[in-house]
Symmetry: C2
Subunit: 426 residues, 2 copies
């Protein structure tokens, strides 16, 4: 099956609808047709609205996202659609209300067309989704369906979530732009909170411009996206990770990117892996398991038979973590979150791998999040840029990381850097 992005960008769809050049539901109908055509193979969706149930955009056709069809990871409520958390046996009736983020997108004109497959409670056990670029390879997880749906061109954008590496890893494996905002930037009302100190809502799209269009709706900011354009960018290039090896083709791709950017006046300076890497990985592990266990304990108690042994073991493990260790790791998180300066003070952003390599073969695991957890626990915004394909046709790319609070600036810089690399004009 040829893989092509949705034929129109977020920007172009909404521009046409606002100009009266396209019907408000035209793109949503095209999305449903694409899902109908492709999803028996890709399996990205757990629920799709019928063509007659599509809801016209609110606020007439004047919104910033007017007419833009979106997919929503199935741990986030959409009014009128069931929420299943990746566990078909637990899928309930229709949600009464949109999650806050869905309501904000809908108010800007977006049209939710369905719910996308998630790993079981956004944890480790994958759903049925396949990688559009290689059907016997994982799409990554836990936001598997959202990344695959955008990669396969079924929607131009979709919401996911990240607790460890659940946004960036699927973006890397499926070859789409993935943006995980900084912690706390997007309201979480209406999503299943499994780890309150880590859970973050993000989104997939085909371009950084499209990710920016969604950020302008979901992230409160003063709108000054171009602060970075006045002086040469400086990038801290951090390849190493004492806990993981980076595959040669990803190394070469990052080197190629740095070379291309340097030719345009960008400064790329290598930095070693932070001495705190091990501590941050431990903080992530402790905080995640402690909180996940307490959030999932009621589900295990009532519906343990419907859950995987992997999940049940994680809950048992988390319940055994002491409060003292948990609080110690929260203190590590709080203190290192604001420690950009000592290590990265001279840089505008960090360039680092998204994953150890392209999507591994097999659908029974979602890949390694070792390059993501550090940034998840710090709560810094992360942006995956898909930049090339390897010889096997699998997407490769890289991750940009911004400082605490620098979400919109990271997107602005990422847009410029992606353009320089893909030879498109600004």
């Amino acid at each position: 099956m040829p893989v092509a992005p949705f034929p129109l960008s977020v920007h172009e769809i909404s521009r046409r609808v606002r100009a009266g050049a396209a019907a408000p539901l035209a793109a949503a109908r095209a999305s449903l047709a694409a899902i109908d055509e492709m999803d028996s193979v890709i399996r990205a969706w757990s629920h799709v609205v019928g063509p007659d149930a599509l809801e016209a955009p609110e606020e007439g056709t004047g919104g910033r996202l007017a007419g833009v069809p979106i997919g929503v990871k199935d741990v986030i409520d959409v009014a009128g659609m069931p929420t299943g958390f990746g566990v078909p046996a637990l899928t309930g009736g229709a949600a009464r209300f949109d999650a806050c983020c869905v309501g904000m997108l809908r108010a800007a004109g977006a049209v939710p067309v369905g719910k996308t497959v998630t790993a079981e409670f956004a944890f480790r056990t994958p759903g049925a989704t396949r990688n559009p670029h290689a059907l016997d390879h994982t799409p990554g997880g836990s936001s598997s369906g959202s990344a695959a749906a955008v990669a396969a061109g079924m929607v131009p954008a979709a919401l996911g979530t990240q607790t460890g590496g659940s946004m960036i890893r699927p973006a890397a494996f499926c070859g789409v732009v993935g943006f995980k905002p900084g912690f706390g930037q997007v309201f979480r009302d209406g999503m299943k909170l499994t780890c309150e100190s880590l859970d973050t809502i993000g989104w997939y799209s085909n371009t950084v411009e499209d990710a920016q269009a969604i950020a302008q709706v979901l992230i409160a900011d003063d709108g000054d996206d171009n602060r970075a354009s006045d002086r040469p960018l400086t990038i801290a290039v951090q390849l190493g990770n004492p806990n993981a090896a980076l595959c040669p083709e990803s190394q070469r791709e990052i080197a190629r990117a740095c070379e291309a950017w340097r030719a345009q006046g960008v400064r790329c300076e290598s930095v070693e892996a932070a001495a705190e890497t091990g501590l941050l990985l431990r903080a992530h592990d402790v905080i995640m398991h402690y909180e996940f266990a307490r959030s999932l304990m009621p589900v295990v108690a009532r519906h343990g038979d419907c859950l995987s042994p992997v999940l049940r073991r994680a809950v048992a493990h988390g319940l055994a973590i002491g409060a003292g260790e948990y609080r110690e790791m929260l203190a590590v998180q709080a203190s290192l979150r604001h420690a950009w300066g000592p290590r990265y003070g001279g840089a505008d952003l960090i360039l680092t791998p998204s994953t150890p390599g392209p999507a591994p073969r097999g659908l029974s695991h979602t890949g390694d999040g070792v390059f993501n957890k550090i940034w998840s626990v710090l709560g810094w915004p992360c942006l995956h840029l898909p930049t090339a394909f390897n010889q096997a046709g699998l997407p490769i790319g890289m991750q940009l990381v911004g400082n605490w609070g620098d979400d919109r600036r990271l997107l602005a810089m990422g847009r410029k850097l992606h353009h320089l690399l893909t030879q498109q004009g600004e």
Copy 2:
């Protein structure tokens, strides 16, 4: 109707069940009988389980809260019970899962017996609940039913939430102990998040000991509750509030408390209202309305007819707040949250009014939260101590406030101070 607390304390119920001296569901059955007897008058409950649907405590009968019946504010999910948010027309089917906090209480042995009346979406428009001490007076809001249910003796403890003054004000008006933990101390999975930067789960009980028993289950800590006992306590007494007057009987009651405590070696030192009071009230107003509007917007869009004009106006107001002003107020919150030292550095805790006075007459409003919002936006833990009744038979009392992170220590100090005041032994 004579008003008396539930006949057994949280501690005593669980002790008896653990010792095999009482059946695991005995207290829950007594609770259902009391509800059956009283609630047609008090109207504290929006849903009550049938006697045959009571679920025996998990973990056998060994838990810290074994057999303790609890009420749960109807913005928090309890598996098998509907969640109505204070809007009967929107009440849905049974929740699939317990909220995280309910699951943690249940795992410790507690037995949820029903859902308690909340103001509409935990905002301003009250439900039907009456004040057990004076039926034509407000019980306060928004956690009206939980406070009234504990005050009337229908349960020994109940969960509420606070965004502005929704825990402490009902505690004051109903004359029960109310504890609002510090922001972030209790996981919020499974509650309706209307203001993600403010919403906090708390609880009501008859004694500070009982509040401690619940804190030991819900708040991760090292269990060192007695750090304050080694040296004389110092209390910063802050009566003034440039935005509200304190009634004379509340002033006299606080003076009486200080006198009693001084006689026992406690230092009570007056401080002026902080210069930042006005700024903090503005921060609370801006953050609350900005977030509430975005959380409730999807409900207004679909079910506006079911909602009060007050709520709809608040949503419209919040949607009009600019992102710049909102972020500025979040920065105020973040910086003042850690500014205990400059103003209160010499004190262990703050003593301040809970409300301008006792419960006002009338059921159409829930009273003034002006003495609560400052602490809600700071996210500091607050404890209401009921200490007396006025000549009309209405409860009066006072609020203790602790520093960021000092939740368990505040409870330990509050327990000691409450004992000194009520002449009970430690």
